[in-house]
Homo-oligomer: 323 residues x 2
């Protein structure tokens, strides 16, 4: 029995695979005009002179039902003939550019060079792919996440993440261009109209912090929290000290913080009103509650589309968006 809510509006902040899954659960549960997904663009980069937006693509492909169900990123039924040819020529193959995926990068880059903004391109692509919820890049200006590491000094994010497979020890992060970035059109008004903001289970350091660091976004959230008691709820990306995917737990450790749902709750302390921790971490509930944060203990692992919907519904019920 699936009831769709007609009124209250939700904003989700999302990075890559984990964020995309919860965003998809929300999209399956709410009428499309009620949901806005604001996506990290800090790990965007240029490769072969193509503008690649990995998180935007993961979110859009997932919402379109086109995502590779095994990897979570890339497209289902992808072929790799370009990459094979590139290997024969001795070109750089560390970033896995699929044939179908290339259409996205080529056409996005062509349109950006024509003067369109990233949000315009994203809106048009969503329309072409049948994505009905609103997906916004956090900013139309380039922001580039730089990983500061012991071994490599300053690493562009994709070099750290894909080429070096997260091996370098992290010392910190820098978001290049963040000072002059502005929230993309629609971002601030979505936050202003939201009845609930959900921080998806994405990497706090390199997926959600870049979004929150765009001048005006964190401020808007804090203002709405203060004036309207806006529910802002974060979903843990860490379960039993580990991440389902990605280097968040490794990053906490290298930064001298024990990775846990508690560490994530502390990360967002002051910003969030509520926190979803996994049932396996129930023992941490009192410590999180002691931070003045409401808690929801739930199964947060999303293996199936049904898991996504179930978790989304629990969160929406907990925050009063759904009855």
């Amino acid at each position: 029995m699936k009831s769709k809510d007609q009124g209250k509006k939700v904003v989700a902040l999302a990075g890559g695979v984990g964020g995309a899954k919860l965003a998809d659960g929300l999209a399956q549960t709410l009428n499309p005009e009620r949901l806005t997904v604001i996506v990290n663009t800090g790990d965007d980069f240029e490769h072969f002179n193509l503008h690649i937006s990995p998180d935007l693509d993961t979110v859009c492909y997932t919402l379109a039902g086109k995502a590779n169900p095994i990897t979570g990123w890339g497209l289902a039924g992808e072929s790799w003939n370009m990459l094979e040819g590139l290997g024969i020529l001795g070109g750089p193959t560390w970033f896995r550019l699929g044939d179908r995926d290339l259409a996205t990068h080529l056409e996005r880059t062509r349109r950006l060079r024509q003067g369109q903004t990233l949000s315009q391109v994203t809106r048009d692509f969503c329309r072409a792919w049948g994505v009905t919820v609103r997906v916004l890049p956090m900013s139309d200006q380039p922001v580039r996440t730089i990983v500061l590491s012991a071994e490599h000094d300053a690493l562009p994010f994709q070099d750290y993440f894909v080429r070096l497979q997260c091996r370098p020890r992290v010392r910190g992060f820098r978001f290049e261009g963040i000072e002059t970035a502005q929230p993309a059109p629609g971002v601030l008004s979505a936050l202003h109209e939201a009845n609930c903001v959900i921080l998806c289970p994405s990497n706090p350091w390199v997926s959600l912090d870049p979004i929150l660091a765009v001048p005006g976004i964190r401020e808007a959230l804090l203002r709405r929290r203060e004036t309207d008691r806006l529910p802002v709820i974060a979903v843990t990306p860490i379960i039993r000290g580990e991440t389902i995917k990605g280097p968040a737990a490794k990053m906490y450790t290298e930064l001298g913080i024990q990775p846990s749902a508690l560490a994530v709750a502390r990360h967002y302390c002051g910003l969030i009103s509520a926190f979803v921790l996994d049932s396996q971490d129930e023992a941490l509930q009192p410590e999180i509650a002691a931070l003045g944060i409401d808690t929801l203990v739930e199964d947060t692992i999303m293996k199936t589309p049904h898991d996504r919907q179930r978790l989304a519904r629990k969160i929406l019920e907990f925050t009063g968006i759904l009855p």
Copy 2:
């Protein structure tokens, strides 16, 4: 019984499909160090900010045994998943970018942007593809063939050739950048050392004229003709007033010249010492001979790899390169 010649050197000037086939026949017949193929780059263009060299690719793919045997251009066993995705996004699909072919364009463009020259990239690609004969672009500087037409004024060649499918009526041609272009490294020395130069059955107006128009190339041929009686032999791309492929015959007609092997021989008159016309055009032989041009009447249609070799061998025997 296949004998390979050990000494005399051959230079072939080639455009796309027809030129590539004869170049392949020559490559199958001569030791690789004896053959240099100089390729038209006048129809190079930028598409999706990629540097695309259609004739260079057709020649190299053919020499590598990777060409699509049906179309003559593109790669055998190609897939079109990028193009399908591009169509969904409403991007420009008029130029058929295959998935495997894209590796060539992406990696070439990447290397050119790093500062490598087109001839360096071509040499490296040939090595990777196992092409052992030397393939040289006519120039490392950009030359762009512009089709002057009644309906569209000045059209970049690929717009005329692919997008508008040769429909506009041709009034003339312009080779943009030709004044400042230089023969690519190795071109003039190859012409200097050649014992025979073959103008492949390519479009005289838009495949071979651009090569001959690069400052220094025609002059080198004329000088060698005068001082050493260098054999320069052209192979007709027109049979019974028609072309196997491409718009050469249509161009002759639109320029007010009746398309025929004779028209092609006249086109090159003063430059060539000999001309290969098709057996079907034997009746034209006396008129071509009357121009002071030696003639070889042969079956020039190359349907099979064996046809290519047979024609190559006949030409090499006729010019005294093979006994």
